[in-house]
């Protein structure tokens, strides 16, 4: 313990003008708590976005045919979907998988028609990965053995004026461009709570889809990971395991605009955090500078005694660290009472905006929960320490320049 007195000196200096120290600590604490609050909600919002996307049947990632990302052609099929599915199911970190195939279809009943993107599903897998199919206003969801069965959304049912057990007339453009026709019986009508989504849902089994289109196999495999925080790494890992012609893309590629929105949220957040930190730094720096100016003679004496520049800087930085630790603690004390209700009760956007929360087939939960966790602690202390250390640099530099002759004369006192 070579520097015990230096540290004591620094700590006691904080007590010399307790009001100023307290103001600085509260200033850092308030800035810190604003950053914590915003970060907690941004993270909560991102979590909600990813959950909404995943639970709307998009998963966290997707194994898709190589050219799918460019063409977005729903008639494309995977090279070897059964192998892909086995590998994905066998990989650690994968929670659920759901194979899908798609085609564009025209549904008709009497004189009424509706165009939809028809989705071929494995009913068992689908129940794990999509929450859209969980609420049916009538009938039941598909089962693996179903033949000639279809499940549609309530909005489609209303448009076509159909009921349970009615037979829909289906027209699709099949393999080789020839038109194909079929009759499918409505076994269930889905009500997700969103009219937008209910006007798009039209599910059949995978084997039904094969028969209808004449394209064998599966168009894509939706993947849900155990831990959404590692989506990017797990996506890369799965791609390496597959090492085949069928690549894996994350949800950001599947729905690029959602990824872009999340990115711009993050940029906006970082800007705000930057502004808050700059304000805190300037506040603390000016308080510190005043304190140093008041101690000019003291620094002159210290330099006259032979204290080195490095030791003076250390003295001031220890003060800054102490203030940072207290400021970080203040940030948690001020911030947590605001974050806690945000984490437990959430913030309901439906009250503010009204209507459903749907974009591009994603049904969002209108309640955003703040993400409250242990990560708040290092963030609080990190921001507070960063602010007080940066704020200490100019005052430290100023103190270094004190002329030691002013210690001997009363002239400059």
């Amino acid at each position: 313990m070579r520097d015990t007195l230096l540290a004591k000196f620094a700590f006691r200096t904080l007590g010399r003008n307790p009001r100023r120290t307290l103001m600085s600590i509260i200033g850092v604490g308030v800035g810190c708590s604003i950053v914590l609050y915003m970060t907690a909600f941004t993270r909560g919002g991102a979590e909600m976005r990813i959950r909404g996307i995943s639970e709307s049947g998009f998963g966290h990632a997707r194994i898709a045919p190589a050219t799918w990302d460019k063409t977005r052609d729903s008639d494309l099929r995977l090279e070897d979907w059964e192998r892909d599915l086995d590998i994905a199911n066998g990989m650690a970190g994968v929670k659920f998988t759901a194979p899908h195939s798609r085609t564009t279809a025209l549904l008709a009943f009497g004189t009424r028609v509706a165009g939809v993107e028809m989705l071929g599903v494995d009913p068992e897998s689908e129940k794990n990965t999509s929450r859209l199919i969980r609420v049916l206003s009538e009938g039941r969801y598909l089962e693996r053995e179903d033949e000639g069965a279809v499940v549609i959304g309530t909005a489609i049912a209303e448009r076509l004026e159909v009921e349970l057990d009615d037979d829909l007339f289906i027209t699709i453009a099949g393999a080789g461009g020839e038109m194909k026709y079929a009759m499918l019986r409505i076994v269930g009508i889905i009500s997700t709570g969103s009219r937008t989504i209910d006007s798009t849902i039209c599910h059949v089994t995978l084997s039904e889809m094969e028969q209808l289109t004449g394209y064998p196999g599966v168009g894509e495999i939706t993947i849900v990971f155990n831990d959404p925080s590692y989506i990017d790494a797990l996506t890369v890992r799965l791609g390496e395991l597959l090492e085949g012609p069928d690549p894996v893309v994350s949800w950001k590629v599947v729905i690029p605009s959602q990824g872009g929105d999340m990115g711009s949220d993050a940029v906006f957040m970082n800007l705000l955090v930057g502004v808050v930190i700059v304000v805190a730094v300037l506040g603390v720096a000016s308080a510190q500078l005043t304190a140093i100016l008041e101690r000019k003679r003291e620094f002159a004496v210290l330099i006259a005694l032979g204290m080195k520049g490095g030791q003076i800087v250390r003295l001031i930085l220890i003060e800054a660290v102490a203030m940072g630790v207290l400021g970080g603690a203040a940030g948690l004390v001020i911030g947590l009472p605001f974050i806690y209700p945000g984490a437990t009760q959430g913030y309901n956007f439906a009250d503010m905006m009204g209507g459903d929360f749907v974009t591009e087939g994603v049904l969002f939960d209108p309640i955003v929960y703040a993400d409250m966790g242990m990560w708040l602690i290092p963030l609080a202390f990190g921001i507070a320490l960063f602010s007080t250390l940066v704020a200490g640099l100019y005052p430290a530099w100023y103190a270094l320049r004190t002329n030691p002759t002013s210690a001997l004369s009363l002239r400059e006192a």
């Binding site: 070579r2 007195l5 004591k8 000196f9 006691r12 010399r16 210290l302 032979g306 030791q311 001997l408």
Partner: protein, 238 residues
């Protein structure tokens, strides 16, 4: 004895304040010997403080030569001068000497810490305070001590690192005669017992009375240099 601790030769110091130049020292010569208990006197503005700042390596002369313990002060870097002050010089200032948030003992220990002394700092600091009969003040902060007590603790701090030379700029200026007397007796004892060298600037007749040698400045030059022999056990050749 008789060793030249400090040798000041033809030193000038000019201060420039905008267009006005003040020639604070104008070719000053002075030799300080080991064991001197030297009072530098002279009217206000005659250059006493300026001279102490130069000898104390706190400021740099405009021209001339200063050698201290045989080293050429003019050739030293800022860092070397700081090192010299830390290891070989002790300072007692007119006022506000002590660090207000540290106790008397901590103020003394702090110099040892700055020097990088590792073991026995506490014992060394405490024994200095006790030698100077300041033991009871050890745990008091400066604002809990009188001006005289603070100055004596400042002397303890100045000598704890066993410097070869102690510089004091008007150390008694803020003290009453009783406290001034106590302070001077204490320093004189250190000089008599340990052969420490003290240089004061002062207007105080009491300091002159205790001094073994009195140098008078006028307009930045030495105009008289008297060595007192009576009662000066340590003696001085000049």
């Amino acid at each position: 004895m008789n060793t030249n601790l400090v040798d000041v030769k033809g030193v000038t110091k000019d201060f420039h304040n905008g267009k006005i130049t003040v020639n604070a020292l104008r070719g000053l010569d002075l030799v300080i010997h080991e064991g001197d208990f030297l009072a530098i006197v002279g009217p206000s503005g005659s250059g006493k403080t300026t001279l102490l700042n130069l000898i104390g390596a706190l400021d740099v002369a405009s021209s001339g030569d200063i050698s201290i313990f045989g080293h050429d002060l003019m050739a030293m870097s800022r860092k070397q001068r700081a090192e010299l002050r830390l290891t070989s010089l002790g300072f007692v200032f007119q006022a506000y000497n002590l660090i207000p948030v540290l106790t008397a003992l901590e103020n003394v220990k702090f110099v040892l810490e700055l020097q990088g002394v590792d073991g026995g700092r506490h014992e060394r600091a405490m024994s200095i305070l006790e030698d100077l009969s300041l033991g009871e003040l050890a745990n008091r902060r400066p604002n809990e001590m009188s001006g005289g007590q603070q100055q004596r603790v400042a002397v303890a701090r100045a000598i704890v690192a066993r410097p070869r030379l102690v510089l004091a700029d008007e150390p008694t200026a803020n003290l009453d005669s009783e406290n001034s007397e106590a302070l001077l007796v204490m320093m004189r004892e250190l000089r008599d017992k340990h052969g420490m060298t003290f240089v004061f600037s002062t207007h105080d007749p009491l300091v002159m009375a205790h001094a073994t040698r009195v140098v008078t400045l006028l307009d930045g030059r030495v105009v008289s240099d008297e060595t007192k022999n009576a009662g000066d056990a340590a003696g001085s050749a000049n």
